[in-house]
Each structure stands twice: as C-alpha cells, then as structure tokens.
C-alpha cells in the first residue's frame, strides 16, 4: 500500500484567481477602509482620525434623510413588484405556443442597459414633449417631474417597476413550472377553490424562488444609482437623492474621501444586515 503524498501543485492554479480577486475586490475594499479612518487635505498627506467620520455620518441629518428616502423607496418597490410579478407569472401559460412569446416579452426589459432605461423614462416623462408627460398634462393632471417631488418619485417607481418586475415574473414562473401536475389534479379531486390552490400549493412551493427574488430586488433597489440619476439626477432639490446618489455627491462632488469612505462602509453593512434579516426570516421554516 502506498501512502498518499500531499500534492500542493493545485495552489498554483488558484493563484491567478487570487490575484484578480485581490486587485478587483480586496485591495479596493481595504483602501476604502483605510480612507474611512483618515483625513486628508490633498497632496497625499493623511492624518489618522479613528472613528470620527463614522460618528459624523451616523449623526448627520443628511445621511438620515437619505437613508429614510432609500428605505421608503425600497419598501414601495418591493411591495409593488413582488405581488405583481407573482400575479403575472400565474397568468402566463405553461404549455403551448404562447409560452416562448411570453417569456421573450418578459425578458426584454431586463436586457436594456440601465442608463438607457433611465434616459428612456426621462424623455418619455418630459412634461412638454414626452409622450407620457404630455398626455398626463393633457388629461388635466399637473405633472412635472423636474419640479414636483411626488411626480419625481412616481416616475422613479414606475420606471423601476417597468424595468424589474420581469425578473420577479421569470423567477416565479420557474418556481411554478416546477410544480408537478399531480398536485393540481389532487386539488381538483379534493374540490379546492382557486384561492386554496394558490395558498396551499403554489405559494408554498414557490417559497424558495420568492426568497431569491425578494433578496435580489431588495439589494438591487437599495443600491440603485444609474437609472435614478439619469432620470431625476437626485430630483427636484434632493427629494429623490437616494443613498448611492448622496454617496457619490459627497465622494466625487466634494472630494471628501474620509466621510465618503465611512459612508460606503456603513452603506455596505446596512445592506448586509438587512439581507441577512430577510434571508433568515424567509428561510426559518425550512429549518424546522
């Protein structure tokens, strides 16, 4: 019997990936951490400040307001997109020639570059020459997203729903397709109503898929930048200045690297925490 010799050569194969990840993720993250605890006045001179920036950000009214706006935005978007996505997935045919057509139609909004989406909605919502803006005004509704905060919010949310509901639809549809026919047949024999079929068969079986959909939508909407900034640029005043827009304003607009870095880290940790909470809540039953 020969003894096995440990072969360490495989580590060489991992080396290129390690280098890539180091340069693309680890080093930049470490740089941000570095900036967040230091102060600079330019000329590459840094002074260590400890947690000063973190305290400043956490006590800053501006940050609180941005955070509140962001939480409100994410909550509205999730509340609309998830039920709407599930409803559309339930309505889509599961067999027959229309399946491919529906799937392609649903996939199309997801394929458009995000800044193009923003630009599209910006133009279409223009109150004087945009199709939507002009029609709304013609109907008597006073609509001007460049001046009214409510209109700006409505436009942002409409854009997000138009852009991203398809993702929820496709995920929910995949979950629904995985349910074997026997369940529906048994429900028919048991005399179950349409609502009972949804509540006791379809929804429980879609649970895992919906968890993924909610997590994805939560993270993406919490981090939204491109579409929002192209449509409203932060809104009339700062009414649609969501967290990421605010962060970029501080970091690049004011060149305050310290506070910006601290805010980035706080932002990152908030997303991490909320995602963990969502995930734990939605998968707790599986552990039972």
């Amino acid at each position: 019997m020969s003894t096995k010799v440990p072969n360490q050569k495989a580590w060489w194969l991992v080396l290129p990936v390690v280098v890539l990840v180091a340069f693309n993720a680890v080093l930049p993250l470490m740089t941000v951490v570095n900036y967040s605890v230091q102060e600079t006045f330019g000329e590459n001179v840094f002074f260590f400040e400890g947690v000063k920036w973190f305290e400043q950000i956490l006590h800053s009214k501006r940050f609180h307001e941005s955070l509140q706006r962001q939480l409100l935005y994410t909550a509205i978007v999730l509340a609309i997109e998830v039920p709407l996505g599930v409803a559309i997935a339930l309505a889509m045919p599961r067999r027959g020639p229309w399946v491919s057509v529906c799937l392609v139609l649903m996939a199309m909004p997801l394929l458009i570059p995000w800044n193009v989406v923003g630009a599209m909605w910006n133009i279409i919502a223009l109150p004087d020459i945009g199709l939507l803006g002009r029609s709304l005004n013609a109907l008597g509704i006073e609509y001007n997203f460049t001046r009214q905060p409510v209109a700006a919010w409505a436009t942002l949310i409409a854009m997000d729903v138009w852009h991203w509901t398809s993702l929820v639809v496709l995920l929910a549809y995949a979950g629904l397709s995985a349910i074997p026919d026997a369940y529906y047949q048994a429900a028919k024999i048991d005399g179950a109503s349409r609502w009972a079929v949804f509540r006791f068969i379809q929804l429980p079986k879609m649970r895992r898929v919906l968890t993924i959909a909610v997590l994805l939508r939560f993270m993406d909407s919490f981090m939204i930048y491109t579409e929002a900034i192209v449509v409203t640029g932060g809104g009339p005043g700062n009414s649609t200045t969501l967290l990421s827009i605010d962060l970029v304003k501080i970091a690049l607009g004011q060149f305050d690297l310290g506070p910006a870095a601290a805010m980035s880290l706080i932002y990152f940790l908030i997303i991490l925490l909320l995602s963990w909470v969502f995930y734990t809540v939605m998968t707790r039953d599986e552990a039972n």
């Binding site: 026997a182 369940y183 047949q185 048994a186 048991d190 006791f200």
Partner: protein
C-alpha cells in the same frame, strides 16, 4: 361504491388521428363490479394511466362513455364524480397538519365541524395515522404521505371508486410490503370499488380479485390472478406474469396433434388454430415443466439459484426451455428428458391462444 363501466372507449392524445398507433387507448369495453378490488397491469406506455385519468375525469376521452352505476359521468369534472385518486408520488399539502390534510376535502364541501372531526379520526384510525394527526404533513416519510393521500380519498363517505396510480413506486422496499397489506386490509374493511394501476405483477396479483392485463392500448386478458397464471390467453401475458415468464417454443400442428421438434406434446384442451396463422407456438410455464424418464430430449445448460428454487435452463432445437427445481430434487447433468404438464400447456397462434 359503484359499478364502473367503460363503453366503447377510445382515446388519442393527438387532435387528428391518422394511424392505429395514434390511439393511446384502443377501443375497449370493461366493466368492474361494485366493491371489487381490481388491477390494471401492463408495461410502461400501455395506456393504463390514460385509462385511470379518464375514469377519474382528469382526461376527457376522444370517444366513448364512462358510467358509474347507471349514471353517465363522462362530462363531469373530477370533484363531481366522487372519486379518490392516489398518485405515483405522495401529494400532500405541506403547510397543513395531517389532520388538516384529511379534513380538507370535507371542509371544501362545507361539512360541519363535528362531522368532519368524527370522520377524520375514523380514517386516521384505519390508516394508523392517529399519533401523527397534529404533525405537519411535510415532516412524514414517503409511506406516511401516501397514507395521507389515501386518507384524503377515503375520508368522503360517498366515494364511488378509489384509484391507485402506481402508489408504491417511491416507497422503500421494506415498507412496500406493509403498505400493500394495508391496502388489501382497507379494501376488505371499506368495501369500495378499487382500481389499482401498476406494472409490478406482485402488487397486482396480491391485491386484486380481477386483473386486466394491457399492452399498447388494448386489453390482452382479464381474469383472476389464477386464471392469468394458469391459462394465459396471449404469449404477452405469459411473458409478463410469472418470474421467470412462460416458455414460448416454436411448434407445429398436424392432424390435431401439436409437436415440438419431432415430439408430440399433449395440450390442455383440443387446439384449433386458424388456417391463416403464421406462427404457432407452445406455451408452458417453468413451474409446470419436469424432468422425466421419457419425453423431449434436452441438454442442461445452466442453473441459477434464486433462493426458494433453482431455475434450470435447458436447450433443445435451438431454443431455451426453463424449469424450476425445488430443494431436494435432483439435477441431471448433460442430456435429460422433459415432460410438460398437459393441463397447463397451450398452443398459441400468432400470439393468441388457439383453443
């Protein structure tokens, strides 16, 4: 409980039927008496699941009608027919407890709570599910879930037919036996008409009073398990039932005498093969073949030990003839002679029995 009758039934999954092969179920007329335990036995793709779905109403037949007693139910939906169906893999409502699962069909019919409770507990006792009533259905093993499926079917008191679509497929082997016995016991206690679809002959032959063997959409033979075993009407039934299957040997027929090779073979009943028959065969099960001092000369080729008996393969005229030897019976080596028991030897013309 009801008598189930299929009248001139034919079904095709295609919209436009062109060839005979397009029919999943070819024309058949079957009647199942009230309160009997029946089996539909056949290989995969023979149309038995299609037939089951037609009876339960999940499928509308292309032609023909389904009757429960005197009622034509062909146009009725499944929940209007009062049937119960147990599927191949357990179908339970995962989020509900066992109790709620069993109560579900009754609650959908708006039965009052007292009656629901009484009936659920009755069925749970019948199926040994009582200790688990408060548990979530998702936590049970596969055989427990199948029992819940079955219970949901039996909980309604006016069930006409209970149908099983290969229900033991996902059950572990040592639990299969217990569940099979349970099903038989249930039939004896509840007395509902039951139809059991399977491709496993053991399940069919032990459960049913009457077995219908199907192949490629047609009924090949219908009869009791003993009839199917002792007098198969088609060589397919001979192959399919019994382990090992029936020996099928090429034969000739002249002047009322059947021969294999040069030797005369005595038959159970006088044979009358049609003159146009292209292929004549002799069928005899290994259980009814013996070594004898005088008979058909064969050469012993191989012996397999299969536990209770030994399967001996012999060769004659280029075909294999199998027979069974129990412990204690001597095994001749090299050349030997075989005798077929006349009572269980039949002549087949183009596959069908020729008597």
């Amino acid at each position: 409980m009801a008598l189930v009758r299929l009248s001139s039934l034919r079904h095709s999954y295609r919209a436009h039927v062109q060839a005979d092969a397009d029919w999943a179920v070819k024309r058949l007329d079957i009647e199942w008496a009230n309160g009997t335990a029946n089996a539909l036995l056949g290989p995969s793709g023979c149309g038995k699941t299609t037939l089951l779905n037609i009876i339960s109403g999940l499928l509308r037949p292309t032609e023909g009608a389904v009757f429960f007693d005197e009622r034509d139910v062909t146009a009725l939906a499944p929940d209007e027919r009062n049937i119960a169906q147990v599927f191949q893999f357990p179908v339970v409502y995962d989020t509900m407890t066992v109790y709620q699962n069993l109560a579900f069909p009754l609650r959908n019919r708006r039965l009052e709570q007292g009656a629901v409770d009484r009936r659920v507990r009755e069925i749970a006792a019948l199926l040994d599910l009582e200790p688990m009533l408060a548990q979530r259905a998702a936590g049970l093993t596969a055989d427990g879930k199948q029992k819940i499926s079955l219970g949901r079917g039996l909980v309604r008191e006016d069930v006409n037919v209970v149908m099983f679509d290969e229900p033991l497929t996902v059950i572990d082997p040592h639990l299969k036996w217990r569940l099979r016995s349970k099903l038989k016991e249930l039939h004896q206690r509840v007395g509902t008409t039951m139809i059991y679809v399977t491709h496993d002959q053991t399940e069919a032959l032990t459960f049913a009073d009457q077995v219908i063997v199907m192949n490629e959409g047609t009924v090949v033979q219908a009869g009791t398990p003993v009839e199917l075993f002792e007098r198969p009407r088609h060589t397919f039934v001979g192959h399919f039932i019994g382990s090992p299957g029936m020996n099928v040997l090429p034969a000739t027929f002249d002047d009322g005498v059947a021969r294999f090779g040069g030797d005369v073979v005595e038959l159970a009943t006088p044979a009358r093969p049609p003159a146009s028959a292209k292929r004549l065969e002799l069928g005899v099960r290994p259980e009814f073949v013996r070594f004898a001092s005088d008979g058909i000369p064969v050469r012993v080729v191989r012996v397999r030990d299969s536990g209770r008996y030994r399967i001996v393969e012999t060769e004659a005229e280029g075909v294999t003839i199998r027979l069974l030897l129990t412990e204690g019976q001597l095994l001749p080596r090299g050349n030997a002679k075989l005798r077929f028991e006349p009572k269980f030897t039949q002549l087949y013309a183009d596959g069908w029995i020729a008597s």
